[in-house]
Point group: C2
């Protein structure tokens, strides 16, 4: 799944190559994707907010891609709305984590997708720096057939 996801991201969203996106891990409904600071540096030698957003939104997108596949569904995943807070600068390797802890919410999401052909789900991605949440991203994704 990790290799497939990496290929999909790099082929279908070419900017992920410039960002240096790397799918690090996918296990137990949780995903980690990373990117080097160097590709994403800003005027303050920390990570550019647009890069942090891109990596965060892709973590959620990738998690949904993998979960749909594992649950034998096919759908188009799009981001509909999101909020991102930058609590502190990121000045090292950028790693965004996204997971679904709520098995009930996931099942509800899939049930509605099956019935209506369209469903939405809220996901949170975080990027840590020195043990703290430096970036908190909350996105509403829509998946449709």
């Amino acid at each position: 799944m990790i290799i497939e996801l990496q290929k999909v991201l790099n082929n279908e969203i070419p900017l992920t190559n410039a960002i240096g996106i790397c799918v690090e891990d996918y296990t137990d409904n949780a995903i980690k994707i990373s990117a080097p600071l160097e590709n994403n540096i800003n005027h303050k030698n920390t990570a550019f907010g647009g890069s942090l957003y891109s990596i965060s939104v892709l973590a959620g997108w990738s998690l949904l891609f993998a979960l749909l596949k594992e649950n034998n569904r096919q759908g188009h995943i799009v981001i509909h709305e999101s909020n991102i807070r930058f609590h502190k600068p990121v000045n090292g390797n950028i790693i965004a984590s996204c997971q679904i802890d709520d098995e009930i919410a996931l099942n509800r999401f899939l049930k509605i997708f099956d019935r209506k052909g369209i469903s939405r789900i809220n996901l949170t991605s975080t990027i840590q720096q020195d043990g703290d949440d430096a970036v908190i991203f909350k996105g509403t994704y829509v998946v449709h057939k």
Copy 2:
């Protein structure tokens, strides 16, 4: 100002080169920046959400950069928090517009900056598609000395 801004963006945030950011216009407290769809395409042949966010956040950043300069202030501009809504897909040249209509809010922002050395301002960037707002970005920027 347009040439200076273009140079600053390309030199200090290298990802803007991959995105293809172009400062189109700056006049009367309003800025337009663009990027070609090609550099920012996604799996659905429309603009990638991370690119739309990056272009929107940079429109606000660039407007503040220009306004500070024109008002003889120097400061570091950072994005603190933002919300972005994707109302419809963008499938052509991407143009983000950001402006400050409220002269009173601008003066209050500058006054607080002078007094406290730090100030915040809310800005809205929009990206249109076929005459409608396809993307609405609302960001809170912090400027500090």
